[in-house]
Symmetry: D2
Subunit: 287 residues, 4 copies
């Protein structure tokens, strides 16, 4: 990650002439030097999307005033939806996991080796299995058993905990529980899940068994933001591996694990870097 | 393709001890030198699969007697399903196509450049568009318009034509018609189709539109043997390409075309080389 | 390709504040609506790269005056290198080929099926083999035998022919001759070659033999602009296929052919769409 | 991994008729049921390769006598090179690492989650950095500083330690030291390295810098057995990722890390499963 202090602005709105000029003018006039700009116009949906980042060194608007200022000067007139981020702040990540820990270990390794410049204040699970791993890495572990009866209350406690810890991103690292609409609503576009299949394909809990029975030659994995529609959230990242008739279910599961791990981490990384923008249940992934 | 005259034997049956020994003994005792053997045991389904090829030079059983002889000596006692092929014989391939010709051109190029050592006696279409291309390459072209009323009769005529031409393989190179059960039954495991999506996924006629709406990050293509269940036949080959939000439908279609072309040709090539074996609606693809 | 008439501007220069604002302002003030903008700043080399396209419908500067006008208004002050293109004009493509025709057939198919909206006035070869194919597709074929003695003269004639035909792009579709510096100089960044290996790797004429001997598990292909340094030109596109010990040289060559075909066509397509920019012997490939 | 106790036999020798029959007969006659057989004949080099595994339950030759017995009955007459393995025995793995720990963490995670059914008695490093990680996972850590002067002695101590621990496989998980011929000789075909590039390509210590300067569109990684010729050992596994001009060196390194991790683990896994056979500085990778 670049060491200079930078501002990142994500914008989407109805397409009309002059948006880029207006925004770049604005940054220029206030002493900002643009580091990267990536823009996309969806000519079918007549929508405009942009990610622009600039050097804050000589920028003359204080961070705390940026939002109001940008709204008055630019955003309002173009009826923009936008979000503003500053590279200084380390993001806080919470990991939800059940019994399988391959994704968990991968994320912890990226954090431990400082590949990911984030804080991980808490690991949450509906089982006790991952507790030992959390301890290994010196991270607080919370065990929230889930049953139909207590689910609502447990989620309420989880939300409190996550708020108290100031969590920015929730990673479902093979968390085999469905989050209620209430929970999702609180953390809109902040919860990232890994689905062990490509989507759409083989809905249900045992995709590798289906894949084996169907005799497919590729298996996939999909990482997406969690929405009310299970496994229907905006897709951030997908990839596949090739398989053959020689791959029994155990082998499919093994290859699938590596794929899930990689696809989830790529997706989280893009989110951390503010490269993702959600619109109409689709994602724009900036360069 | 190796120039030596070789026999190829495809076997599947219930697994039991001694199959490999029996078959390899048999070949050895009759003067055959094994060129390649690929075997697979499905421990879940307790099934045995094998492809073995051997040099015919010193082999002392005449080709025309092989079937009966192998049945008596080996196949019966193991209750084998098997098929026997000889490298000498050039296979005869028929191409079915509608309006889109990208797969057609690709196959014709492989034939023309002698990459594929096959004969292509006939191209069949429900439209006239491909006629000019067929003429370019000096291949007979037959136009069979299809409507609900005449479909049965047209297919009857097609079957006659294909039989008369001694066709071994029928390639549906983007043929946008569903073949009736009657037709499929006549050419069981000889009809190869390309489906412009991975399977299972986005059923229906416009997968790229669905892919666009869903915002997927990969699109796929699947080549399979045609069975009574539309798009549910045994999968021979699958592959994907990565796409982004920048790919509009036109771009998805374009990338999809290249993928369809490649996946279909890979599948047909494997069939030609007798590398495919169908069982329980799945394929075994030998090395 | 979008049907609206659009202008495409490719820019690179030393990075400094205000470039994007200046260019987008300029387009806006003259009635142009930006369709797509892709920008990249190389912070290591302190260089700025941009591709911007806009709708010409309401644009108030005549095409023939654009160059001078843009130079005066914008380019000079930023010391830009730039090129300007208009979507209306169909590009003229010349194909150079030797004996192997797989890339040739692929390109002709894309042209014939109208996937590529270009003209192909001429096919040039140092052998007569491809003449028949050229005739099939109704394209003029020129046979220029090459020997050390006559090479210079033959290239002179080729240049005359290409100029006379108004050729924009020269595709070396497996053309097994090294072009002289003189020739390359005339068509700087207009000659695209396919190298049957990844670069750097296995220099020399028989990479698949080297790959076999070395027992590699992947083979690659590289498409690049031709420069004075053989096989060292700016890379446009690369890809690979996985191989195993079972792939003998014949099989490697066969898999390599498909790869060469695909990689070359992808590269040419990007060039046609004005997505490529060459700088410091590297390419910027815009979205 | 299958739970049944199985024997695995790896064979290579000059090709001649009757090898498969002889070996499968032998297994059959002694009560073994073949679980998997994969054979390959290199018709160019006239060499025969085979991996065969069988169920030991009813097999009537004691494990300790197998070697001698098989030699007398079969191996001698065919002048075979062969190795025999039994699924019961857990293999012992030693990890060599320098400062970068991404491959180390990945391997430890696979061991901890029991994906890999191996023992890891020791982690060895020329730096102290990885000591803390080793402690986390409760594995003995040995710090062997390396300088030109003491290298020979340090390696001697390492060999003693590895022998004492009964190590079967040495994984160089980004170990930035060149092992001397003496060391390699002791652990022939037991030392697996990950090279952060495809081979052959960009020799030297900073391949990602070269890749950036050259503007490549793919970067690769190669896992191979370590031989006297640095980076020239038999290749076990290779793969690539696509990159663009937007990937600066930091980004190339980051993508390269994921690739190295995956490619190394795939290679080690194949070795553990006895799927690899080395011959003429190439590997045969069985199914």
């Amino acid at each position: 990650m670049s060491r200079i202090k930078e501002a990142i602005l994500l914008i989407h709105c109805k397409d009309k002439p002059g948006i880029i000029a207006a925004v770049t003018e604005y940054i220029l006039n206030h002493g900002g030097n643009i580091l990267d700009l990536d823009q996309h116009t969806d000519s079918v949906k007549q929508k405009f999307y942009m990610r622009v980042s600039w050097d804050l060194e000589k920028f003359d608007i204080p961070q705390e005033e940026m939002d109001t200022h940008f709204k008055q000067e630019i955003a309002s007139s173009f009826k923009m939806s936008w979000s503003l981020h500053f590279s200084g702040k380390r993001q806080k990540l919470a990991i939800f996991v059940s019994k399988q820990q391959h994704c968990l270990f991968d994320i912890l390794a990226r954090w431990q080796t400082k590949e990911w410049d984030v804080d991980i204040p808490v690991i949450i699970s509906n089982h006790e299995d991952a507790g030992e791993t959390a301890e290994k890495f010196g991270i607080e572990f919370y065990h929230f058993p889930i049953t139909k009866e207590i689910k609502k209350d447990q989620e309420a406690k989880q939300i409190l905990l996550l708020k108290e810890k100031g969590i920015d991103i929730i990673v479902l690292a093979r968390y085999m529980q469905i989050l209620s609409h209430g929970f999702i609503d609180v953390f809109r576009n902040q919860v990232i899940n890994i689905h062990h299949s490509f989507l759409p394909a083989f809905p249900g809990a045992r995709p590798y068994h289906s894949a084996y029975e169907r005799g497919v030659k590729i298996i996939g994995a999909t990482s997406h933001y969690v929405t009310e529609d299970l496994d229907e959230g905006p897709i951030i990242e997908q990839d596949i591996v090739h398989v053959t008739h020689r791959d029994d279910i155990e082998s499919l599961v093994r290859k699938g694990r590596d794929l899930e791990t990689l696809v989830l981490s790529r997706a989280v990384w893009k989110h951390i870097r503010r490269k993702t923008l959600v619109t109409d249940n689709r994602t724009i992934i900036f360069n």
